[in-house]
Amino acid sequence: MRDGAAIAGLGMTELGRVYGRSPRRLAADAVRAAVDDAGLALGDLDGLLVSHGLGGSPGIELADTLGLRDLRLLTQMNSFGATAGAMVSYAAMSVLSGAATTVACVFADAPLKPKQSAGSAYHRDAPEWYGFGGMTAALGFRSVNAFYALAAQRHMARYGTTGDQLGAIAVSTREWASRNPLAQMRDPITLDDHRASRWVSEPLRLLDCCIVSNGAVAVVVTGADRAADLARPPVHVWGWGQGHPGHRKARGSAFGLVTGAATSGPIALKMAGVTPSDVTQAQLYDCYTYTVLVSLEDYGFCGKGEGGAFAASGALGPGGSLPTNTGGGQLSGYYMWGMTPVSEAVIQARGDGGDRQAPNDVILVSGNGGILDHHATLVLSPHRKGA
């Protein structure tokens, strides 16, 4: 049988309010951990893909930091929150084409500073503002919260989606997080807690927004045959796809209502040879509860406009028909951009989920970047494709 690509190693630093280590150092630590996890040595790597981050994140100089030599693949990649999926797919393609054999993919960032609120890490403020973009920020658009709120509100106005339906996503995600020792927010919450949490940008409340984390996550991608001989169970990469709708901000735009997942999902699922009904769990980028809701629709787990009712049905929580964000996602777990869903998918595919282990035969992983502008989808499985 033709060889496939697999994730053979996962490395995660401490995540959250982790201070005293630069993003480059965190990235190096995560790559070392991922290589070690796979039962490999750093010298076995012949490829390194480094994710763009918020600021101060490492570039290709990370190869020097790690002392890597004779690499066949080295680049920094950026499609915002879709980068992790894009990195894994590029690594898989490189392995399948023979361009490289063993590729580490890493994300690292350290936006949190001591004695600073989490929100301020992603917030702009200034006494004077320059140009048209500055004017937009001055008028109130000083973080992405307001832009996602506009998207969510548009969906509500169009389809009758409710705040409680968003709340159901916050609650089920926290329920999963309570079972994950790696999660930053593990105290269970109720719908009433969600209703009582302060407004950030209506219709989004504090509990609709993700947390912020310092740290790094890396994976090692290699051929499926080789992965089978390494230290940990291979996580097979069945399919991948990207979607970048390029909605014009003008009359007729589907901004906020349809995302790139509507494109990336079918591509990845077709490559994997499965349909949405075959997916046994989903790891969806959840910078906001709304991101999950609209992604569920665009992946075809429910119809357009039905994401709210689907989430409120209990489908996403433990015991539900589509266990989703089983590690607590970015809302309650840790915010490593697209590496949050990728890392939990690897843990689940290996059967290492402990109290939160969900059926793992077909795992859909979704990355989202910009304001629902960029999507990358992976389909992962503990089984060989077609086996």
Binding site: S117, G119, S120, H123, A126, P127, E128, W129, Y130, G131, F132, G133, G134, M135, T136, A138, L139, G140, F141, N145, A146, F147, A149, L150, A151, Q153, R154, A157, R158, R198, W199, V200, S201, E202, P203, L204, G246, H247, R248, K249, A250, R251, G252, S253, A254, F255, G256, L257, V258, K304
Partner: protein, 157 residues
Amino acid sequence: MDIGILRRDGRTDGFFDAAARDRLAVRRCAACAAPPEGAVPSDRDVPPDGAATGAGAEAFLPPDATSCPDCGTEDLGWTDVSGEAVLVSWTVLHPRPREDGSAPPPALLALVELAEGPWLYARLDGVGPAGLREGLPLRVRFAHPSEGEAYPLFTPA
């Protein structure tokens, strides 16, 4: 929320010149405004309900456009538009608490669709959240602070 002081950055002078005289200006691609016979407007953005028309048909572009997405030219002119718009979506932004713990007043922010087609991220004025709905007719007005550039606000028409 304090708006602060707005300064030019040299890239959107036409917008702030117009704002100073209470007019809303956007970019327009002269080449695409007069398409050749038989040209087909862009249909890239078909909404789920298929109700709206193509975005690029009249070649009006947002004030911060740097090139025409249809023909690629960077030679864009400025043109005053009507100042009429409709509401696409909105949010009540609750600003981060101040250092002393007090909360600044909320701001009503919106995505508005100009009558000419482009969308703007905007701030609403003279209306409360309860009065908002998709398609609500709006009209621009300009605030002229004592220091810095004038800026647009949208109010119910």
